[in-house]
C-alpha cells in the first residue's frame, strides 16, 4: 500500500539516467512505471554510529556445492555456540543483583503474531495479542560511564542507565557486511535481523550472549509494548485527523475532503505551528502502556498480552519492556527474575503453559454461577 518499491526511487533521483537503472535487479512492478508521485519520509544521512547492514557484493561465482559447504560450516560454528550451557569460561558468569523499585531490566524484542479472544473465569470475553519471542540474545552491554561518552546518549539520562543491545532472528552472516557481523563477535551469537536497545540500570546488567525468552516475564506482570504503527502513507486530512470534510452535494464545488480554513484572526497572522494538514500517517513509534500478561507459552515463547492495540501490523517487531507505570510495577515481595531468567533458576520442572489465576483455561469445565451469587 504505502510501500515504495525500488522503482519508485526513480521519481526522486532526477539525475539518474532512466535507462541505466532498468536492469535485472529491478522489480518490473507497476509502480516502476507509475507516474503517481509516492511521497515518503526524507532520508537523512545516517547517524555516526550507523553500520551498514546488507552487503552489496555477494559472491555470485560460487558453485552450489560450495554454497552448501559454507552454510554447513556456518551452522556447525553457531550450533556449538548456541548449545553450550551458558557460563562462558573466558569471562565467568556476571553477578546477579537484587531487584529494587528503581531497577530497569532489559526488554525483549518480540514479533506480533496475531490477536485472539480469551475469557475470564467469570465468563467475560476480552481480546489478547500474542507476541512471540524468537531467537532473542543480548548482543552487548554498555555500562553507564561508557554510554555517557557515546553518540546515542541523551543528557537527561545522566549516569543512571547503561544500554543492553538485544537482537532477534538469527541469520546467515553471508548476507551482511563485515562491520555488521563484527558487532556480534563479543556475544558469539549469529548476526541478527533486527537490533534494538534497552536502557537498563547498572544492577540489571546482562552478559552479552544471554538468551532471552518468555520466562523473562511471568504471568500477571504488566508490560509496555512499543512498536511502529501501521504505515498509511500520505493521507488526507479526513483520514489522518478525522476532519469532517464538506457535503457531497448541495452546491458544494470541488471541496469535499479538504481542510477548509487554515488560520485566521487578528491575534496571530498566519498558520499556527502544528496545524493539522495532510501528510504521512503512521509508521511512528507508539507505546501501549500497562498491558497485563495473561498467559505464557514456554514451548513457543509466546506472551498473551491484554488488548488488541499493540501498534503495528502482524509480524511487526514489538519492543516489550517492564511497565513504567508506578502502580503496576511488581510488588517488592514478588520481584521478577534478575537480570533475566536462567535455566538454573527453575526449582520445579517448567510447564508448557502458565495461566493467570483469573483466566479461564479451556481444560476446565464450563463457567457456572453458584447459587446465591449476584
Amino acid at each position: 500500500m504505502a510501500a515504495p518499491r525500488i522503482g519508485n526511487v526513480l521519481c526522486r533521483i532526477s539525475n539518474c539516467n532512466f535507462t541505466s537503472v532498468l536492469l535485472e535487479k529491478i522489480n518490473y512492478s507497476r509502480s516502476s512505471t507509475c507516474l503517481l508521485q509516492i511521497r515518503h519520509r526524507q532520508a537523512f544521512p545516517p547517524a555516526a554510529w550507523y553500520v551498514k547492514r546488507k552487503t552489496t557484493d555477494l559472491d555470485e561465482n560460487l558453485t552450489k556445492e560450495n554454497e552448501e559447504f559454507l552454510d554447513d560450516v556456518m551452522k556447525d560454528v553457531y550450533r556449538k555456540r548456541l548449545d553450550r550451557v551458558f557460563s562462558p569460561l573466558e569471562d565467568g558468569p556476571w553477578k546477579r543483583n537484587e531487584y529494587n523499585r528503581y531497577t530497569r531490566r532489559t526488554g525483549v524484542l518480540a514479533i506480533k503474531i496475531g490477536v485472539v479472544p480469551q475469557w475470564t473465569k467469570e465468563g467475560k470475553r476480552f481480546t489478547t495479542t500474542m507476541l512471540q519471542i524468537i531467537d532473542n540474545h543480548v548482543i552487548r552491554y554498555t555500562p553507564p560511564e561508557k554510554f555517557m561518552k557515546s553518540a546515542g546518549w541523551k543528557p537527561w539520562w545522566g549516569n543512571k542507565y547503561g544500554v543492553a543491545v538485544v537482537g532477534a532472528l538469527s541469520t546467515n552472516p553471508r548476507i551482511y557486511t563485515k562491520e555488521y557481523n563484527n558487532l556480534f563477535m563479543e556475544s558469539g551469537v549469529p548476526p541478527k535481523k533486527k537490533l534494538t536497545r534497552f536502557l537498563i540500570t547498572e544492577n540489571a546488567a546482562v552478559q552479552p550472549g544471554t538468551p532471552l525468552n518468555a520466562m523473562h516475564y511471568r504471568v500477571g506482570d504488566v508490560v509496555d509494548c512499543s512498536a511502529k504503527t501501521k504505515d498509511y502513507g500520505f493521507q488526507g486530512v479526513v483520514k489522518r485527523w478525522g476532519m469532517k470534510g464538506m457535503p457531497k452535494s448541495h452546491g458544494v464545488t470541488k471541496t469535499h475532503r479538504r481542510m477548509g480554513t487554515t488560520a485566521g484572526g487578528k491575534f496571530k497572522g498566519g498558520i499556527w505551528k502544528g496545524k493539522k494538514m495532510p501528510g504521512l500517517m503512521g509508521n511512528r513509534w507508539r507505546t501501549a502502556r500497562g498491558l497485563k500478561i495473561w498467559r505464557v507459552n514456554t514451548k513457543y515463547n509466546v506472551l498473551y498480552v491484554t488488548g488488541q492495540n499493540v501498534p503495528g501490523n502482524t509480524h511487526g517487531f514489538v519492543r516489550v519492556m517492564d511497565t513504567k507505570l508506578p502502580l503496576r510495577k511488581p510488588a517488592p515481595d514478588n520481584p521478577p527474575p534478575m537480570p533475566t531468567w536462567y535455566p538454573e533458576d527453575a526449582t520445579e520442572p517448567i510447564e508448557e503453559e502458565y495461566f493467570d489465576k483469573d483466566l479461564f483455561q479451556f481444560t476446565e469445565e464450563s463457567v457456572k454461577f453458584a447459587e446465591g451469587k449476584k
Partner: protein, 313 residues
C-alpha cells in the same frame, strides 16, 4: 555535511553507467537511500516461517503433518471454524496452532455437535441472573461463521409471537451444552430471509424432542421453499440468489434492476475464490489433525463413560 559534488558514486543497483549526483545538501547517495527507507515495517509471513525453521534458531519443531488418518470427504464442512482465515497477511502458523489447541481442549470438555445452517438446536447458557442460573434457548440455525475461537452461530425462534435471534460464540465458556434436536441442511448458506417470512417457518417448540439421526447416514437436505411475506422487506431478496424461497411474485422492474446490479461473472472469478479459501493441501493437513484429535477425544470420553458406569454399579 559532506558535499557530494561531482563525485561518481557506485550505485546500489548494478548498472552499466555510473551515476553522478549534483551538489545538494539534502541529497543522500542511493546506497544509503534503500536501507534508510525500508519498504515495510513488518516482516512477511514466509520470512518469519524461514527463521522458525532455520537451524540457527532454537525454535521447537512443529509436529509433523499427519497423513495417516482416513478423513471423510465432507469433514471440512463439519468443522469449518478450524480452517484458517484466508487473509494471507494475518496468517501465522504458531498462532493458528495454539488457537486450535485451545479449541481441541474445549471440545474435549463440552460436546459441540455437528450442525448446519437449518438445523434446530437447543443451547443452555449459564446465566447469573436467572433463578436456576441457566438459560435454555431452542431455535433454527440461520447463520454460522467465524474463524478459530471467534466461531459463532445464530439461532432464531418465535416465542409468544415475538421473533427472537440469539448469537452464540461456540467456544464461550458460559455455554453449558449444545444439543442438536434436528440435524438437517437447507438449500441456502444463510437463512436471514426467515425474518421476512411468516412466523410459522421460524417457530419451534422449546420442548421439542430430539430426532435421532442414524450414524453414518448422510445429512438430510430440507428442500422446502419458504413463501415470503409481501414487501417491504429487510433486504432485497430478489437480488440474492436464494434457492429456498418460492417465487417472489414481484413486478418485472425489480427483476430488471436486479439483473442490472448482478455480477454473474463472480462465479467464474478464480482469484476471488482463491483469496476467500485456503489451499487444498493446507486444508487437508488441518483436517487430518482435527480428525485425529477427535478420534482420540472420543476414545477418552468413552473411557470416562465406562468408568462412571462401573462406579454406579
Amino acid at each position: 555535511m559532506a558535499s557530494y559534488s561531482r563525485r561518481i558514486l557506485p550505485c546500489f543497483w548494478k548498472t552499466t553507467k555510473l551515476l553522478t549526483f549534483e551538489d545538494s545538501a539534502r541529497r543522500v547517495p542511493c546506497r544509503y537511500h534503500q536501507e534508510l527507507l525500508p519498504t515495510r515495517n513488518y516482516l512477511l509471513p514466509e520470512t518469519v516461517e524461514e527463521h522458525r525453521k532455520s537451524e540457527l534458531s532454537k525454535h521447537p519443531e512443529l509436529p509433523p503433518s499427519i497423513t495417516s488418518e482416513n478423513v471423510p470427504a465432507d469433514f471440512r464442512f463439519v468443522y469449518p471454524e478450524f480452517l484458517p482465515d484466508p487473509q494471507y497477511d494475518r496468517r501465522d502458523s504458531i498462532r493458528e496452532r495454539l488457537e486450535r489447541e485451545d479449541m481441541y481442549r474445549r471440545r474435549a470438555v463440552i460436546d459441540i455437535p455437528e450442525f448446519y445452517v437449518g438445523s434446530i438446536m437447543a443451547v443452555t447458557v449459564s446465566d447469573q441472573y436467572s433463578p436456576n442460573k441457566e438459560n435454555r434457548f431452542v431455535g433454527i440455525c440461520i447463520d454460522r461463521g467465524g474463524v478459530g475461537l471467534r466461531a459463532f452461530f445464530i439461532l432464531r425462534n418465535v416465542v409468544d409471537g415475538q421473533g427472537i435471534e440469539i448469537m452464540y460464540e461456540m467456544y464461550n465458556p458460559t455455554l453449558q451444552s449444545i444439543q442438536v434436536l434436528k440435524l438437517e441442511k437447507r438449500v441456502d448458506d444463510k437463512l436471514y430471509y426467515l425474518r421476512d417470512a411468516p412466523q410459522e417457518y421460524s417457530t419451534f417448540p422449546f420442548d421439542m424432542d430430539p430426532i435421532p439421526v442414524p450414524k453414518g447416514s448422510t445429512v438430510p437436505v430440507n428442500k422446502m421453499k419458504v413463501q415470503l411475506n409481501p414487501r417491504p422487506w429487510l433486504e432485497r431478496w430478489e437480488r440474492q440468489d436464494l434457492q429456498g424461497v418460492e417465487d417472489l411474485k414481484l413486478e418485472q422492474r425489480f427483476y430488471d434492476k436486479a439483473a442490472k446490479v448482478a455480477k454473474p461473472w463472480e462465479k467464474y472469478d478464480l482469484m476471488k475464490w482463491y483469496r476467500e479459501n485456503t489451499n487444498e493441501e493446507e486444508r487437508d493437513s488441518i483436517m487430518q489433525e482435527v480428525h485425529q484429535r477427535k478420534r482420540l477425544t472420543d476414545i477418552e470420553k468413552s473411557k470416562r463413560k465406562t468408568k462412571l458406569a462401573e462406579r454406579k454399579r
